[in-house]
């Protein structure tokens, strides 16, 4: 197991290197003028296009540009993010904890609710509850995230006023945040650690709608997969054997059938967490949630190459780390799987 983990950790820089070559090469498909356009915001500035190309070395060959980028990256400088107005590394450090916080309040409910409802649906196959849950799953699965997000915003905030609108904090708390000592970078968690329960509650209330959006959309997928796995497990030989041994139905369903049905949920959950940690682009944008996803969409729209590269590196780390953890967990849950 230890060898496996070490091997996986060694993969991180290699994956990052390969990704960076690929992304820099892809950006080179754009002309220098196209990349220079990322630095300007008006027709007036367009007059300086040639100067920008020259000053930033955008017309230099690929090895030179890649070499420069790699050199600065290895020295800890990921470049400057035009889209956020600060260095890329600072942007990641500022925004990633927000995305982690959203992931924390989202991933667990998604998996738990999805697993629970999927199990419930399978155990009540073809009954009303199963039909209702299947309809819910289809709706959640097929409803575009931005439509659901805007509907929730319009109803829960705009019409009913039950929840706060977009953003992370009420205006009244915006100024108080400066007094909070940051330990984790996660605003809600840090507010709790500072004993500022009012701010923590505010942050949490602002998290409800984005979390709800993600839970409905992603939970439906888990529900669907869990239901199918559970149905398959319920008709398997080992479940029949368990029943023949006279075990109570609850034990058969939950201990024998569901445990096996959960195996693919681990993989799916891994992908889900990778997706959430890489930033829920649409959800963060709709709810003005200052996470990684909101930033990367701005970066891409503005052809902000250093930011896109920084994000790609972050994604690579997330993918390798979460995949490794998923594989380890798989080995724990399924004794048949051994890595060494």
């Amino acid at each position: 197991m230890l060898n496996f983990i070490v091997r996986r950790l060694i993969q991180i820089p290699l994956v990052m290197l390969a990704l960076s070559v690929l992304i820099v090469a892809l950006t080179m498909l754009l002309t220098p003028a196209q990349r220079a356009a990322g630095y300007i915001r008006s027709d007036q500035q367009a007059a300086q296009l040639e100067r920008i190309i020259r000053d930033r070395g955008l017309d230099q060959p690929f090895p030179v540009q890649y070499g420069k980028w790699l050199q600065s990256t290895l020295s800890g400088d990921l470049g400057f993010s035009k889209s956020s107005g600060q260095p890329v590394l600072e942007t990641i450090i500022e925004r990633l904890p927000n995305t982690i916080e959203l992931t924390l309040v989202t991933a667990i409910p998604i998996i738990l609710i999805g697993v629970w409802l999927g199990t419930l649906s399978a155990l009540n196959k073809d009954r009303f509850i199963d039909q209702a849950l299947r309809v819910f799953a289809v709706l959640g699965y097929s409803l575009p995230t931005f439509v659901l997000g805007i509907v929730l915003l319009a109803v829960l905030y705009g019409y009913l006023g039950w929840l706060p609108g977009a953003g992370q904090l009420e205006v009244i708390n915006q100024f108080a945040v400066g007094d909070i000592r940051r330990y984790t970078g996660m605003l809600g968690v840090d507010a709790l650690l500072n004993g500022r329960f009012d701010i923590a509650l505010d942050v949490f209330r602002h998290l409800i709608m984005p979390a709800l959006t993600l839970i409905i959309v992603s939970g439906a997928t888990i529900l669907k997969v869990m239901r199918n796995n559970m149905l398959e497990a319920l008709t398997s030989d080992y479940v029949r054997t368990a029943r023949a041994k006279g075990l109570p139905e609850r034990t058969v369903n939950l201990k024998h059938a569901r445990r096996n049905a959960l195996l693919s949920i681990i993989t799916l959950g891994g992908f889900l967490i990778i997706g959430l940690l890489s930033g829920s682009i649409i959800t963060e944008t709709i709810f003005a949630y200052p996470g990684i996803g909101q930033w990367v969409v701005q970066s891409a729209l503005q052809l902000d190459v250093p930011s896109v590269l920084g994000f790609a590196l972050l994604s690579a780390i997330i993918v390798v780390v979460v995949s490794t953890l998923t594989d380890i967990l798989y080995g724990v849950v399924d004794p048949r799987v051994r890595f060494d």
Binding site: A37, Q48, D55, V171
Partner: protein, 578 residues
């Protein structure tokens, strides 16, 4: 498992139920929601509307616009000024007892440092090129123009023994004062800037700062201006500013300003309609009229001045054979000099349906201008004639063009607009429809082009016909007239229209500070341009904004298009809430 899931659901519900009724924003707080980030808070790097709208409130310039006027300037950090040496020397008396947010007192050394820093750095992305043009005679920085030396920069901006700030220009620039009113020329705190790691203000390290992009400078992170508001914090959530207790002027009524970044229009609208935001980026006229107008608590201010100008360019010397089709007047293309015949240009000008554009694109709220200059700018002449859509006239001119060959053989013209610019696309489609209706042998192909490609190709003179606009850097006619009409202007390569008289008038207008003379010269340019039709002038939309009804100080009378851009047309310090 079931319990945990239930618990999660209950927690969500409980948190929702703890919600109290939303209160509108407090009276001492102004909440603004924009779609995008603010790129910089360093005046030297400020060259976009979002940055400018913040910078102009935390920093101050030597002069500013008087109320809603864009013609009259008044002192701000200066108390008075004198123009001597035939308009080439400007001497400013500076306001005394002005404090920076850092606590430092403003002196002439701060102003000198500010302007020298702008000239030294003059990064490609910044707006310092037009300031450098005035003081050094070139828009370039010392990396691009070796004639720029430290001595030259130092001589251009100096403090005299009386503590006055003296600018020495190489030649007369009637727009110089207007340029000084631009937020990018705000005075920075020299001691503070040096302390946070900016240029030291001496010859010793000036070369290290040439062309340096200051967008992410330390001064951007820790600004210190003399403005009525000081920065509290800028983070991924918002920009927070608070009234500066040591401000030299009148204490503002609004204490706190919060600029929130909310990319989604629907979310901004919800906040605005609920009173959680006082001002939002509205998405334009159509959206205001359909979604906001008439809603409780919403005030719409219409009929505001528009300070941009847009035109269809007809290139008289097309430098790309691939855009010419056959390259001949045989119905399958055009020659490279197709638009050099004034009859062709006039025919196109008569083919554009201006009234339809105003009706369809501008919701009926547009104005046909006489020249490519905002109608509120000095130098604009209402009396210059304009083209109207007239199919008969268009036909007559097409029949005259190129000895009758245009009408006889027809043509195929390739035109471009910026991808995603719906108004530009519609303008081109209106033109295409009307031109093609005149003669079955006329063909206009419309192509959407990515911005950078269009900028590059049009600058290289490769585009036969494009639609493009200009927004002001400073409120002077020269910023538009020279840009559009001079053969030395920025837009010249896009249409290659050259008129000796127009060039002469524009140079004369640049070399005199006599307003009446300049206005007369611009009027002559406008008339000549009407006769020669180098452009099809696109009607200008009418400005419109929306704000919450408890916000006081926003009105058409108080609106200055050069301040706070599209938000209120005022500084924050002029607003209050009831």
């Amino acid at each position: 498992m079931k319990k945990v899931a239930l618990l999660s659901s209950l927690l969500l519900a409980a948190a929702a139920v703890t919600s109290t009724a939303q209160a509108a924003v407090a009276r001492d707080t102004l909440v603004v929601q924009w779609a995008n980030d603010v790129p910089t808070l360093d005046p030297a790097a400020t060259y976009d509307t979002a940055s400018g709208a913040i910078v102009e409130n935390i920093y101050e310039t030597l002069v500013t616009y008087k109320g809603a006027s864009i013609r009259d300037l008044e002192p701000l950090l200066a108390t008075k000024w004198a123009i001597t040496n035939s308009g080439k020397t400007y001497t400013f008396d500076l306001r005394k007892n002005v404090k920076f947010h850092s606590g430092n007192t403003m002196t002439c050394a701060d102003a000198e440092y500010t302007f020298e820093r702008n000239l030294v750095t003059n990064a490609a992305e910044s707006g310092n090129w037009f300031f450098s043009e005035s003081l050094l005679g070139t828009g370039a920085n010392a990396n691009d123009d070796k004639s720029i030396t430290w001595a030259k920069i130092d001589r251009a901006v100096e403090c005299n023994r009386a503590g006055q700030l003296v600018f020495t220009l190489p030649k007369v620039d009637p727009a110089f004062l207007s340029k000084l009113a631009y937020a990018g020329q705000s005075v920075v705190d020299r001691q503070h800037a040096i302390k946070v790691g900016e240029w030291k203000g001496t010859e010793a390290d000036w070369k290290n700062w040439i062309g340096k992009d200051l967008q992410g400078s330390n001064l951007n992170k820790q600004p210190s201006g003399t403005g009525a508001y000081r920065l509290v914090r800028k983070d991924a959530n918002a920009i927070l500013a608070q009234a500066f207790p040591g401000y030299w002027g009148k204490k503002p009524a609004i204490t706190n300003v919060v600029i929130q970044k909310v990319p989604e229009l629907a979310a901004r609208q919800q906040a605005f309609l609920r009173g959680d935001a006082d001002i939002i980026e509205t998405g334009g006229r159509a959206n205001i009229e359909e979604q906001l107008k008439g809603k409780p608590g919403v005030v719409v201010v219409d009929g505001l001045p528009n300070t941009s100008a847009t035109a269809i360019f007809m290139n008289e010397k097309i430098a790309d054979a691939s855009r010419l089709g056959s390259g001949k007047l045989d119905g399958r293309g055009i020659p490279a000099n197709f638009f050099s015949d004034v009859n062709v240009r006039r025919a196109f000008a008569y083919s554009f349906n201006y009234a339809q554009y105003i009706r369809d694109v501008q919701n009926g709220k547009g104005k046909q201008r006489t020249m490519l200059l905002p109608d509120t700018f000095p130098g604009y002449d209402e009396k210059v004639k304009t083209y109207k859509y007239d199919a008969k006239q268009a036909e007559a001119y097409f029949k005259r063009a190129w000895g009758g060959n245009v009408w006889k053989n027809g043509f195929t013209l390739n035109v471009s607009y910026r991808a995603g610019a719906v108004a530009s696309q519609t303008a081109m489609e209106i033109l295409k429809k009307n031109v093609e209706a005149l003669n079955p042998k006329f063909r206009v192909n419309i192509q959407a082009k990515e911005w950078s490609a269009m900028l590059n190709d049009s600058k290289a003179g490769k585009e036969p016909m494009i639609i493009i606009g200009w927004a002001p850097d400073y409120a002077d006619a020269d910023n538009f007239m020279y840009t559009f009409y001079s053969s030395n202007g920025y837009y010249f390569p896009r249409n290659n229209w050259k008129d000796a008289s127009v060039d002469k008038w524009l140079e004369q207008a640049r070399s005199t500070t006599n307003a009446a003379t300049r206005n007369r010269l611009y009027s002559l340019v406008g008339q000549r341009a009407y006769e020669q039709a180098p452009f099809v002038l696109i009607p200008a939309g009418v400005g419109i904004i929306a704000h919450r009804d408890n916000l006081v100080g926003v009105s058409a009378r108080a609106y200055n298009p050069m301040i706070s851009f599209d938000d209120t047309g005022t500084y924050w310090k002029e607003l209050s809430k009831k």
